[in-house]
């Protein structure tokens, strides 16, 4: 299975507005890589360029040792010759063909022998549990079934690279969970290189082996999901991944900033000087009735509980604290009710520190632990 490599890829639809900006991205061989970002960040454009459905204005796209696009060399391999699979958000099933014919389409073009075709169509339909709908037309299928057909259609020709453009966004919650499991299973079984576009961070976190976070056409970070979560490269990644979002305390504007910076300075003065923003994940915030319950060496600050939202397994607590409104997520019923003043505390190593430009700063304890992912914090 090949590695997909993009180097220096640029693309603009409207003159002067770059949809994708100088993108260098390496999708590892056999990985399940998610392109994650808010809408309009260029992730779908990137995917379509890999498929050849859009063409870059500059740069190069390679799969394995095959150059698919190279503006400088004038090289372009049309989508129909790229041997990839692409699943569209809208499924894009052909309404005039039955499920079987939809799945069969690519094989017919490849001039497979009839028994071979029948075998592979049956195989693909079985893998996605759609054999019973073989003779129906797409309009007679539910969204989830259509989704499966659309996947089967691409799997039938067994491409090395499978590109998925927000394939789950049109499904309801239960089906989405089912399809996530299904996709993960297929990936494990078949070992394609998968590139998956989504704006749903939960989807990316749960499915991907690698996540590429994009914003405004630029790659922000490419790393394993937990690395992205625990060591976000910048404030954008930090805020975008995680729900409720990370609470960001700005040195200039957060009301209680001084005390927090003092706390950081006490252990790591240089870090405190460089820090422009400090982020705290909601689940890192613990609540206590008073200061006595706070362990040694932890950042503690007073907050007022403004709302408690139980989700069943956890409690989301809305707080009025040094950063204005902030959230905590607790796994036990929170101390204090609405209107009560309580103490919030955060272990030192759970603070995310960013410089004025929003780039992550490495704290001393991390440097001691080397450059490995910070497993210790968990």
């Amino acid at each position: 299975m090949p590695t997909i490599e993009l180097s220096g890829v640029q693309k603009s639809y409207v003159a002067g507005q770059l949809a994708v900006r100088n993108l260098h991205l390496e999708v590892p061989d056999g990985s399940f890589t998610c392109l994650l970002g808010p809408s309009g960040c260029g992730k779908t454009t990137t995917l379509r360029m890999i498929a050849g459905l859009e063409q870059p204005d500059a740069g190069e796209i390679r799969v394995g040792d095959r150059v698919l696009d190279s503006v400088a060399q004038g090289r372009f391999v049309p989508p129909e010759k790229r041997e990839m699979g692409f699943v569209f958000q809208s499924y894009a099933l052909w309404p005039h063909l039955t499920v079987r014919r939809n799945v069969d389409f690519g094989l017919r073009l490849r001039k497979c022998s009839r028994p071979e075709r029948e075998r592979r169509v049956a195989e693909a339909m079985r893998a996605l549990h759609i054999e019973e709908y073989a003779d129906r037309y797409p309009a007679q299928l539910s969204g989830g079934q259509q989704q499966r057909v659309s996947l089967a259609r691409m799997l039938a020709v067994s491409p090395d690279v499978l590109l998925l453009d927000e394939p789950l966004s049109n499904l309801d919650a239960a089906l989405r969970l089912e399809m996530r499991t299904e996709l993960k299973r297929l990936h494990a079984e078949l070992g394609h290189t998968v590139v998956f576009v989504t704006h749903d961070q939960l989807e990316a976190m749960t499915m991907a082996t690698h996540i590429a976070v994009m914003k405004d056409g630029e790659l922000q970070q490419l790393a394993a999901p937990m690395e992205i979560y625990e060591r976000p490269a910048n404030t954008f990644v930090a805020e975008f991944v995680g729900s409720p979002p990370m609470c960001m305390l700005d040195r200039e504007t957060a009301p209680g900033a001084a005390a927090i910076w003092d706390f950081v300075a006490a252990t790591d003065p240089e870090l405190a000087v460089q820090a422009g923003t400090i982020g705290i994940r909601p689940e890192s915030i613990m609540l206590a009735a008073d200061h006595l319950a706070v362990p040694e060496g932890c950042l503690a600050f007073p907050v007022t509980v403004t709302a408690v939202l139980p989700t069943g397994s956890t409690w989301i607590v809305s707080l009025d604290g040094p950063g204005g409104e902030m959230f905590a997520v607790t796994s036990t019923p929170p101390v204090g009710g609405v209107g009560d003043e309580v103490v919030a505390w955060v272990p030192r190593e759970r603070l995310h520190v960013f410089d004025d430009a929003g780039v992550r700063l490495t704290a001393r304890h991390e440097r001691v632990a080397g450059d490995e992912p910070v497993e210790a914090i968990r």
């Binding site: 459905l53 004038g74 005039h96 780039v359």
Partner: protein, 615 residues
Amino acid sequence: MSVEARERPNATQEPPDRPSRVARLRYRLNVARHDPTLAIGIVLTAVLAYLVVVPIITLVIDGLQVQYGDQQRAQKDPGEWTTYYLWRVFRSPISELLFWEPLVNTLVVVVGTTVIALLLGGSMAWLLARTDMFGRKWFATALVVPYILPSWTFALAWLTIFKNRRVGGQLGLMEALGATPPDWLAYGRVPIIITLGMHYFPFVLLLVGNALRRLDSQLEDSARILGAPRRTINRKIVLPLVRPALTSAILLVTAKVIGTFGTPYILGLPVDYNVLATSLYQSINSRQTGVGAVLAATIVVIGVSILLIDARLVREYRRFVTIGGKGAMGRVNRLGRWRLPAFLAAAGVFTLCVVVPLGTLFLSTIMVVPGRFELSNFTLDFWIGDDLDSVGFPQGILVSEELYTAAWNSVRIVGLASIICAVLGLLVGYVVVRLAGTRLSSFLRQAAFLPYLVPGIAFAAAYLSLFAVPRGPIPALYGTFTILVLAMVVNQLPFSSRAGISAMMQLGREPEEAAQVCGAGWWRRTTRVVMPIQKGSLAVGVVMPFISGIKELSVVIMLATSGTQLLTTLSVDLVEYGYTQLANAVVLVIAFVSFTMTYIAQRLTGTSLAAGLQG
């Protein structure tokens, strides 16, 4: 240093060196080689530029250059620039007759027609969409019938009833019964307004009816929950939300009336009541090409301005008009004891606008002398006789060669034009959608829509000036089938291309792209995926232009010659000869064809009559 900044992944990479112009061009060409969309787009652009844009430019140039034969009057050589025609149309002693009076007449007709169409169409729309009147479903189709009939059907029916001795030929029914209608009732302003109103009210009915039906009932429910009485809801909520449709209907009817030729010609001629369209026709007919060009250009300018105003207003309105998809209209006004009168009113409108005109026309074709209801007076000679006293047309319509020649011409020309139109429309749609966002795409969309802004008769004038003489590789086309086909195609193109664009939009690019990713090249994608999916739209795309083309008069009246007689022009010729019964019979034939085709189209698409109606 105890702190190190983690770099963003991109920061280490150098910005891409922009590939050279040559390299980019080479890359582009390579892309284009695999996808002919761009090439098709360029060809379409050239075709549309020549068929749509060039004629209008030629028209303007013709109005500003001295024409052959006008050297003396303009005191310049042919081909030189001149303001002579402008002067002649707008400022000369005869401009009163050529332009100003027709302009005033046109405005009067427009206002009158619009008022009638609004009153009839608006009230019927309300009854159909918002009340529990009897037979709403039936009326929804029946009341659209006047719009399916050729517009000048009503003019012929009117003459058949109200014609007086001022004009020779067959007597009018009233005259025959002993009551001579005065000129003002028989010809000119009043009948033109009434008959055009009868033809165009369904247009208002459709537009306003759709708006009323689409209105989200939750909007009204909200008002009602807040305590608003029915009347207030209608006045404060429903009316403002329907206003865009009303405004649109008014402007579109106006634009259509300005370009309408048949009715004003038939009813206005006997008393020299000219509107712009007929004035233009007479100028062209008397070979005053320059004057005709100026008049046509003026009509174009008026037409374009009206539609631009419409587009502007529609945009304005779009800010607040919400099209509620979900809350399908469930609320109806209970008419109570007004239920029967409402039904009678609708039935009355149907009778007046469909039964009476068609009945009159039919009766006139089976009676020798109007108004005498004796068995001996009834005859089928006008349909199947072969010994009529009408010189040059001695046979009944159904056995005469002329009818079949004209019908065959109509079918051939309109049929060919419709097929070309449907294919062009889909191609335009394909390119517009595939290249969305490019300049080529927006040019194609606009150029294909441009003929909509140009009244038919003005377009015909433009075609006359463009194709009257050979230009470059294109020979003179006047008097040929080709020019009629081209004019028909262009006239219908706005609707076909709009249909094509929306069909392609609805399809989206994905199904084709999916085939592409699966390994299908362009030809395969087109024949295996796009065409089969669009089969239905293609069929509708052929039938719709056919229906509206078969009854088209304004576009062809100046382009058809005796060698290329069409059903519509044949009927007008017969009117001119004074062969009332024969003319009426031909119109009935056209109406019949138009009906049948509409019915087939309806069966074919499963949509209502209303949805498919266009020009």
